[in-house]
Structures are given as structure tokens and as C-alpha cells.
């Protein structure tokens, strides 16, 4: 990746974590998506403020013994796929405001 990529959860979807999986329904066309454990970690970390490569490094590589380049390629494919369906927003600039320390996301 030549520049940083920021990912944020779309406000037009509904999501619910059930066990290790996350179900997401698009409010646009009612399409239902299922995220597995790793994708759920990416989804939860997609606050629009932390770059994707940092998320992958901190949340995926450390947790799952996976090579950084491979993990980043997989993560990129996932977020681009979800962005095509309006589930995630992608930008080369930070999206939204950073979370304050201790702030709980609703």
C-alpha cells in the first residue's frame, strides 16, 4: 500500500456479534453478511481513525501468527469487498473523530 487506508463502519447497516461471528445487514438492500472471527476483529477495529495496516499489525498478526504481507492482502480484499456493498467506508484520510480514551462505542 503506497498510502494509508482508513476504514470505518457504515451507519447504514445493522450489525450484531453472535459468538465469534458478526452478522451485518445492509439497510440499502437487506443483504446479509457473515463475518468470521478474523473479519469480526477488523470490523470492530474499523473506527475510521486507525489505518488498516496498523489494525492488521496490532490485532491480527499478533493474535494469529500470520505473515504481515499476507494478512494485509487478505484484509484489503475483505474491506474492499465490504466497501463495494456499502458496509464499510474507505478513505486515504481519517474518517470521523478519534475515540477518546475510555469512550465506549454504542
Amino acid at each position: 500500500m503506497s498510502c494509508k487506508l482508513y476504514v470505518a463502519r457504515s451507519r447504514s447497516v445493522a450489525a450484531r456479534k453472535l459468538g465469534d461471528e458478526t452478522l451485518i445487514m445492509s439497510g440499502r438492500d437487506s443483504t446479509l453478511f457473515t463475518l468470521d472471527e478474523v473479519a469480526t476483529i477488523l470490523w470492530e477495529a474499523a473506527d475510521g481513525w486507525k489505518p488498516l495496516e496498523e489494525i492488521v499489525e496490532e490485532k491480527i498478526c499478533r493474535e494469529f501468527e500470520v505473515e504481515r504481507g499476507e494478512a494485509l492482502r487478505d484484509a484489503l480484499a475483505l474491506v474492499e469487498g465490504l466497501a463495494e456493498h456499502g458496509v464499510l467506508l474507505l478513505s486515504n484520510e481519517p474518517l470521523g473523530e478519534p475515540k477518546l480514551q475510555g469512550q465506549v462505542e454504542r
Partner: protein, 270 residues
């Protein structure tokens, strides 16, 4: 003096899931047809939750297989399909239906109306058969061919059929209840107009033996959502239905029920 018979037949009130919907028409034979089709759901009470004026077009006009579109426009819900057009205002609780004199168009309007009302209160119309036994409702969800009519037809004599096609599920206090509907499937028989607390939701699958297996919450939610009827192009309501479905599967036991066409399957349901 006005003819009392025609006055009495100028309207009919059909109550599904405790929501009385009154329809007005100047066509006496059309109202008679509705009275027969919705027998058991026709009520004589004076209260109406919604009222519709029906304008009848020529018989056979329009394509009932065309795609149904439900949209929100200028404070009204608009429903359009090849064979009918309707609109209603949820605030005034009044609307109009333009259709040919067939029972299927108004059936579709009723289904859409109830999905919209239920979506606002955590309920659903489901592709599911349901029946009451021993004071408890059992709901059997599945796509066409999964066995909804079969399981309904295997119900023992002491069971009360709520529907073999479209189940009406609504929150009732701290639990969910299933109500009878007139929406019949292959059985060709409307349900009884009664309700009971839901004991369980069974995801139907035909197989070589009768077997009940647990499912994960995610699997239950996916299967449940796949069977929810919802037509409106409305992001807020879609999100609301999604969260309601997750609430439902968190509260009601959901299992996968594999069954052979054998009435003994009912003895496994408690």
C-alpha cells in the same frame, strides 16, 4: 329508506393478529368473496385499526407475478404490483387500494401492512407453519419445499393449526406469541384465529429420520432472517427488523428439525 342489507355489506372488518382492518367497497359480491375467504378473521366490532377504500378495476387486469414495490413517499406508504396499487397513511390510518376483483391483491396488501406494523414493534411475518398444542405455539420455518405444509398436516388432532404458510409473530409482554393467519399454503386451509406463547422455532429440513439438533445463535439468526417477509425499501425499518430478529433468537429456543413424513415427529416437540 336505505337498504339495510347493502349498508351492512358496504364494509367488512378483517382482524389478523389483533389488528382490525376495515375495507370499504361498493361491490357487494367482492365483499362477499372477502367474507368467505377470511372467514374466521371477520370481526363485527366497531373499532378499526386501519381503513381502506377499494376501487375495483376490470377483472384480470395486471400481472400478479410482477415485482412488488413498497416505498415511502410524502408521508404515505405506496405499494405497487402489476395487479394493484395502494397507498396508506400510517398517521391517519387510512388508505386506498385499486385492484381487480380478486382475493390475491388485497391479500398482498394485508401482508405488507402487517409487516410494516410488526416491524415497528419487534414482530414479524415469517415463512413458517405454526400450530398450538398444550397451550404452546410451535413455529416451523422453511422455504418452499422444506416441509411446512407436511408438518402442519401431520399435526395431531389436539393441535390447533395457525397457518401452514405465513406465521404471525409478535411480542406480547415479556414473551413472543404466534397468531393464526388466513394465509394458507398448499394445505388450502386458513389457520384458526387464536394465539399462544411460542415454545420454540424449528428450522425445517426433510431427512431420513426424526432428529432435533441445536444451532448456533448466528445460524439461527441467519435462518430466521432468511424467512422473514419484508418488502419495504426503508433503511431504518430494515435495521429494526434485523435487531428484532436477533432479539427473537436470543429469547426463543431455535433448533433444526429434520423429519420424515411421520406423525411421531410431533411427540418430540415439547
Amino acid at each position: 329508506m336505505q337498504d339495510l342489507t347493502s349498508l351492512a355489506r358496504a364494509e367488512i372488518t378483517i382482524e389478523i393478529g389483533g389488528v382490525p382492518v376495515r375495507v370499504h367497497s361498493t361491490n357487494d359480491s367482492f365483499l362477499g368473496m372477502l367474507e368467505r375467504r377470511y372467514a374466521g378473521f371477520v370481526t363485527l366490532g366497531s373499532h378499526a385499526g386501519f381503513e381502506f377504500d377499494i376501487e375495483l378495476a376490470e377483472s384480470g387486469s395486471g400481472d400478479a407475478d410482477a415485482e412488488l414495490r413498497v416505498s415511502w413517499d410524502s408521508g404515505q406508504w405506496r405499494l405497487e404490483r402489476g395487479d394493484f396499487a395502494a397507498e396508506f397513511n400510517p398517521l391517519t390510518r387510512r388508505g386506498r387500494i385499486r385492484q381487480s376483483p380478486n382475493p390475491y391483491s388485497i391479500d398482498a396488501v394485508f401482508r405488507v401492512l402487517h409487516t410494516l406494523l410488526l416491524a415497528q414493534e419487534g414482530g414479524f411475518l415469517l415463512h413458517a407453519a405454526s400450530a398450538i398444542r398444550n397451550g404452546k405455539a410451535f413455529v416451523f420455518a422453511g422455504v418452499s419445499g422444506a416441509g411446512k405444509t407436511t408438518i402442519a398436516s401431520l399435526a395431531p388432532a389436539d393441535a390447533t393449526l395457525l397457518t401452514d404458510e405465513i406465521s404471525f409473530v409478535r411480542k406480547d409482554g415479556d414473551h413472543y406469541a404466534a397468531f393464526g393467519t388466513p394465509f394458507a399454503g398448499e394445505l388450502g386451509k386458513p389457520g384458526e384465529n387464536v394465539c399462544a406463547p411460542i415454545a420454540g422455532l424449528y428450522l425445517l429440513e426433510k431427512g431420513p429420520l426424526n432428529h432435533i439438533a441445536p444451532v448456533t445463535a448466528a445460524e439461527a439468526s441467519r435462518a430466521f432472517l432468511a424467512n422473514v417477509l419484508f418488502f419495504a425499501e426503508d433503511q431504518e425499518l430494515v435495521r429494526s427488523v434485523f435487531h428484532s430478529a436477533c432479539e427473537f433468537v436470543a429469547q426463543v429456543p431455535v433448533c433444526r428439525l429434520t423429519f420424515v413424513p411421520d406423525s411421531r415427529v410431533w411427540e418430540m416437540l415439547t
